[in-house]
């Protein structure tokens, strides 16, 4: 029994006796609390809700909003909406993947960055755009991506020293 499962208990209690139609709100709440859907959480939900883990995993992987790895210290969202796409967001995403060495939905090994693709963040005027922990970085080029990531790496290193 780890910390994570302890965090689940009140949520599971709330949804006790709920059927399949309760699954998505339950998963959302678990993700909000724990940060992601771990294997342990899913098996635990499966047992409590009497639903096969394969079903839960199937539902969860259908939706982009669910993640299966913990979020990094800095959460990077890449906009792949229409305007950003026209302005070259595919290349931005590629540059980020190369720089971080992870695919969308994953977290770097050092736990610093997690990468997510989102449809539109409503900042089309700034396209192509990414956000890092909610901070916007506008009118990007693939070259700028490396610099941005580097500033966060430095920030993290300073925090450690301090």
């Amino acid at each position: 029994m780890n910390v994570e499962i302890k965090q689940l208990e009140p949520i599971l209690k709330k949804y006790e006796g709920g059927g399949r139609d309760q699954l998505i709100p339950l998963l959302q709440e678990v993700q909000n609390t724990v940060g992601y859907l771990s294997r342990e959480s899913i098996t635990c939900i499966s047992r409590k809700m009497n639903l096969p883990a394969s079903k839960i995993y199937g539902v969860a992987t259908f939706y982009n909003q669910f993640r299966f790895t913990p979020q990094g210290k800095y959460h990077v969202q890449v906009c792949r909406g229409t305007a950003c796409h026209v302005k070259g967001s595919a290349a931005i995403l590629e540059a980020l993947q190369k720089e971080l060495g992870v695919n969308p939905g994953q977290t770097t090994r050092d736990g610093l960055f997690s990468l997510e693709v989102v449809a539109c963040i409503g900042a089309c005027g700034l396209a192509p755009v990414i956000t890092v922990d909610g901070e916007f970085h506008a009118r990007l080029t693939p070259e700028l991506v490396g610099e941005i990531i580097e500033t966060y790496r430095r920030k993290a290193a300073e925090n450690v020293k301090a």
Partner: protein
């Protein structure tokens, strides 16, 4: 009642049944891929689309209910064109390696491409890349060949109540897979192989042991011994064009000898042995207040199911090994000793209707001193392949008889292959063990047939015995939940993993309809009707085995060699 018009002809129908049901009944064939009789229609593949007058689009006949006065066109140019396009689209990201595919010649996608006259690649899609999942000892998954019809998913969920696999991901990245991106070996898959039988393509197949067996057969240092399960002789013929329900045991024995197996044994023998042990165990439990009801333990899919989903009932499962494993244990001990062969130099093969038997053979409990009792398991399909490879044809071979002493079986051991067979065989012998007399009528007809749950009550020597027979684990779940809830009028329950029993196992010939499966069952009961020895305790070789080696049922040797234990498993 409703009258509907199909292709200009009036057909009678019942309001509420699907168009497809009516079409099948009147002999109009529309192709289907995702449809399985008796399970929820999903309308996923849309191959069964037909034109219904007044409807703007085509409707899937498998999911569309009949209405009085409805006018249906099944093969209008529009419907046929749509079907062809569907197949062309399915082929767009298919690997197209039919020549190298396990299912070459036995693939519904291939058949439909042929039937609909697909002659060129009209849509060139990107190739879906996916990892081959070879993690399971029983089942190989190749998601690249999957057309996402969902038949395996529904069979796993609705028939077997296991749900080891489901659709994972979304859109063109969707796969049918166990959870967490893991191999199927760590999932709650029970290895029954019903998904393989359901799969229309080569996306699911058995983990093949053909190479292992061929290598052993060509190794002069090894004595290669084979046993074949009761249901194999009545199904293998189908692979060679014989009518379903033909018992080919004689030619099967010849074929096995020609393949190079030194000794050919019949698992029916160890089925008789199982009855002696299991019958005695049942009586012991009833007389000494043991855990009841007792469940049979011959079906390895079922055993893993209990270990995974009902660990609290593990103590109710008979401790007897399955006939395959009993035979395996006897071969590498008694037989090796008698024939003066080093057990390490014996390669023991079994021919099974089952993919879960492959898993069972690999269980660490199933052997001694690091030596497995069964070295390789071939399904009926694999054996047919091996026989063809050697250029043998069951149609032209002459009959032969199995070797003594483990080739001798009674018909009680033979009917093990059908749901209800183990129960019937066990009751015949339990009656004898309790009363010292034979049952007046050896036929216990209410445990036979294809019903998912069958129950009967008998009075044996003043003891009122309640028995139940279930096949298909979805049905088992229903009964298990009743027992968990406190039902206590049953003493003995036979469970077979596959609907109808081993005759419909996950390793049996593919592409058969329900009629063929029924014929297989009839064949087993025909043997039971026609032969003289119909009770396990009347098997002279069994008696001799107890006299010369084992001692008595449930004795110390039996305990070591013929009984086993179970382990609780995680549900994933």
């Amino acid at each position: 009642m409703a009258a509907i018009e199909i292709n200009g002809r009036i057909a009678e129908a019942t309001e509420g049944e699907t168009i497809l049901t009516v079409l099948r009944r009147i002999g109009v064939r529309v192709p289907t891929l995702c449809h399985i009789d008796g399970l929820t229609p999903t309308g996923a593949c849309r191959l069964c689309v037909v034109e219904v007058e007044g409807m703007p689009g085509l409707v899937p006949s498998c999911a569309y209910p009949v209405r009085d006065g409805m006018k249906v066109q099944t093969h209008s140019p529009r419907a046929v064109r749509a079907r062809k396009t569907i197949i062309e689209l399915l082929l767009a990201d298919h690997p197209d390696d039919c020549l190298y595919c396990e299912r070459n010649g036995c693939c519904q996608l291939q058949d439909l491409a042929e039937e609909l006259g697909v002659r060129k690649r009209r849509y060139a899609g990107g190739h879906r890349r996916a990892n081959l999942d070879i993690s399971s000892p029983s089942i190989v998954r190749n998601p690249e060949k999957c057309i996402l019809c969902g038949r395996c998913v529904r069979v796993c969920e609705e028939v077997q109540a296991v749900s080891a696999i489901d659709f994972v991901g979304r859109g063109c990245r969707t796969q049918v897979a166990p959870p967490f991106g893991e191999g199927i070996n760590v999932s709650s898959c029970i290895n029954c192989g019903q998904c393989i039988v359901a799969c229309p393509t080569g996306a699911l197949r058995e983990q093949s042991d053909i190479k292992k067996v061929s290598d052993a057969l060509s190794n002069p240092a090894l004595t290669v011994v084979v046993q074949h399960a009761p249901s194999v002789s009545v199904t293998i013929g189908e692979e060679f064009g014989l009518k379903p329900g033909t018992d080919a045991v004689g030619v099967l024995t010849t074929a096995l000898r020609r393949l190079g197996f030194k000794y050919v044994f019949d698992t029916g023998f160890s089925a008789d042995l199982t009855i002696m042990e299991e019958g005695s165990e049942l009586i012991h439990r009833i007389k000494h207040g043991g855990k009841l009801p007792m469940f049979t333990s011959c079906s390895p899919g079922w055993v893993k199911f209990v270990e995974t989903f009902y660990p609290d009932l593990m103590g109710n499962v008979s401790s007897c090994k399955s006939p395959q494993q009993m035979m395996g244990a006897i071969i590498k001990t008694f037989f090796a000793e008698r024939e003066k062969i080093d057990p390490k130099k014996i390669f023991s093969v079994s021919i099974m209707p089952c993919t879960a038997k492959k898993f069972e053979a690999g269980r660490p409990e199933m052997g001694r001193d690091g030596l497995a009792d069964i070295d390789a398991v071939l399904t009926t399909r694999e054996l047919a392949r091996l026989i063809r490879l050697r250029g043998l044809d069951l149609n032209t071979l002459e009959s032969d008889e199995a070797d003594t002493p483990f080739g001798e079986r009674t018909t009680a051991g033979k009917i093990f292959g059908a749901s209800g067979g183990v129960m019937e065989a066990a009751l015949r012998s339990a009656y004898y063990l309790l009363t010292g007399a034979e049952m007046e009528d050896l036929n216990i007809k209410n445990v036979r047939g294809f019903d998912g749950i069958k129950e009967a009550r008998l009075n044996i020597n003043g003891i009122d015995v309640g028995v139940a027979v279930v096949s298909g684990l979805g049905n088992a779940r229903k009964l298990l939940d009743e027992i968990r809830a406190g039902r206590d009028d049953l003493h003995f329950i036979e469970v077979m993993t596959c609907p109808g029993g081993c005759i419909n196992g996950g390793g049996q010939p593919l592409k058969v309809d329900q009629e063929a499966v029924k014929a297989r069952m009839r064949a087993l009961y025909k043997i039971d009707r026609e032969e003289a020895l119909r009770t396990s305790h009347s098997n002279a070789s069994i008696k001799r085995l107890y006299d010369e080696f084992l001692g008595e049922p449930l004795g110390e040797k039996s305990h070591h060699l013929l009984h086993t234990h179970y382990v609780e498993r995680d549900v994933v």
